[in-house]
């Protein structure tokens, strides 16, 4: 299903947390802080996008000729 090897939500969240920690620790040159800030904003946008991407696919595996196929699962019975 998800074949693309993009960053996971968790990885991005963790990275963002690290950036925030570094930024708040204080002793960093301003231009370095701003570079980090830009990176953090990109991560933040990525995370918000992931969260608003509100689709879930629900599939059920059906056995067919010694193999399985995915079919949409209708949860309303």
């Amino acid at each position: 299903m998800n074949k693309k090897k993009e960053k996971t939500f968790e990885e991005a969240l963790e990275e963002l947390e690290n950036i925030v920690e570094k930024l708040s620790s204080g002793d960093m040159a301003l231009d370095e802080s701003i570079k980090l800030f830009e990176k953090g904003m990109k991560l933040k946008n990525f995370l918000s996008e992931k969260l608003s991407d509100a689709k879930n696919r629900i599939k059920i595996l059906i056995e067919k000729e010694d193999d399985y196929i995915e079919e949409d699962f209708d949860s309303e019975e």
Binding site: L13, L23, E38, M41, S48, K59
Partner: protein, 403 residues
């Protein structure tokens, strides 16, 4: 009379009731039912006893309609409930919320033996437990497609973080063929979806016989061998199965399993915006700090070592302004007016004011690098000098070291 507190009986009973309810909000008790009555209101009244003691108990209709067996005199049960006190009679009682029949001899014995065997093999060891990812994208479910469990799980997941894909492996969950189905389901999901983040294996409540497939050795081992983390969610909170022990995490019910695996979307959104805020605050604080130290530099050091300090600070301010503008252009979600304010701060540090006082800035051409030392300039190079009004281009005829 001394100033002792004198209770009315009502106050006494109410105080005792409060203490009991606070101290025992949830507990498990094992015992035998006696003096059982099913009142016309639908509530069940009985005492739980062992060889020497007894406690009054009640199981209200709301709870007892969910029972899958009929409790009665002499039945050994395990109950979950809370303590309370029936104030009108000053009798304390156990308010039962869940009740489970203690397994009948043979099954109980099988359960105990298998549990002991697998425990000795180390299949329950904490060190084998895999972590459930905080934000999974693909979740498997091995359960009956028509059962209560799948409905409960889907309901929870739809209410929560919905950016998640689900694959259901339809399996029987009771009867002699169920264990084979469940085992195959776990294996099929592992081989077809190695990227799967977690799977929920379970079913809704039922009698000990109904839940039995989850106590089969083949299921317990398939759960243990799964590369994908397994959350076991069998029956109600009160039901423990061998599959629970070999799983990576036990959930008290299928809904609870879904809640464990799928985070609340609102919580995540809040967490992300909190991080954003703290990031903006730190950077803003830092910029304030730099700009105030710029001002200090102008105020104090300008007369003694004018060029070095001014140039450096001006350059820094220019650089930052440019940087911040880039950030803005990229549409980063810092609030625009806030950034503008910051940019304004830097503008006020612009060299113009200093130039008006008669200072000037000189750049080496063609790189337009500010000259800070005569050693970086060579004879014959052209220079641009920026004045308060206008620019002068000149050529270097000689350089001298500082005195």
């Amino acid at each position: 009379m001394p100033t002792k507190k004198i209770y009315t009986v009502t106050e006494l009973n109410n105080s005792a009731k409060n203490i009991l309810e606070e101290k025992f909000p949830s507990l498990w008790v094992q015992g035998e039912i006696s003096r059982f009555t099913l009142h016309s209101s639908g509530h069940m009244y009985f005492t739980l006893k062992d060889s020497s003691c007894a406690v009054d108990s009640v199981m209200f209709r709301r709870e007892n309609i969910k029972l899958d067996f009929s409790p009665g005199q002499g039945v050994e049960v395990l109950v979950k409930g809370r303590l309370s006190l029936f104030a009108p009679q000053g009798r304390y009682q156990l308010v039962v919320e869940e009740m489970k029949e203690k397994g009948t001899g043979e099954l109980e014995e099988k359960f105990r033996k298998l549990k002991e065997k697998l425990f000795k093999e180390g299949l329950f060891d904490e060190k084998h437990k895999k972590k459930i990812p905080a934000v999974p994208r693909l979740i498997g479910i091995v359960t009956s497609p028509t059962g209560a469990a799948v409905r409960d799980i889907l309901n929870v997941i739809k209410r929560r973080f919905s950016n998640v894909d689900l694959i259901i492996y339809p399996s029987r969950v009771q009867g002699s063929l169920a264990a084979g189905d469940i085992t195959r389901g776990i294996e099929v999901l592992n081989s077809r979806y190695p990227e799967m983040d977690a799977m929920i294996v379970g079913r809704g409540g039922g009698s000990i016989e109904d839940l039995w497939p989850f106590n089969e050795e083949s299921v317990a081992r398939a759960v243990f061998n799964s590369k994908i983390p397994v959350i076991s969610a069998v029956g109600h909170e009160i039901d423990f199965t061998i599959c629970d022990f070999t799983s990576d995490m036990r959930a008290p019910t299928p809904s609870a399993a879904a809640e464990l695996v799928v985070k609340n979307k609102e919580d995540l959104l809040r967490r992300v915006s909190r991080l954003e805020r703290s990031m903006v605050d730190s950077v803003r604080g830092k910029i304030k700090l730099v700009s105030s130290s710029c001002r200090n530099a102008f105020d104090s050091a300008v007369l003694t070592r004018p060029f070095k300090i001014i140039e450096e600070r001006i350059q820094q301010a220019d650089y930052l302004e440019e940087k911040l503008t880039t950030v803005l252009k990229h549409g980063m979600e810092i609030r625009t007016h806030r950034l503008n304010t910051l940019a304004g701060t830097f503008k006020s540090l612009s060299p113009r004011k200093t130039l008006e006082r008669g200072y000037s800035i000189t750049y080496i051409l063609p790189e337009k690098k500010p000259v800070k030392s005569s050693s970086s300039a060579r004879r014959g190079q052209r220079m641009e000098t920026v004045l308060a009004s206008g620019v002068v281009i000149s050529e270097i005829t000689a350089t001298e070291k500082e005195k």
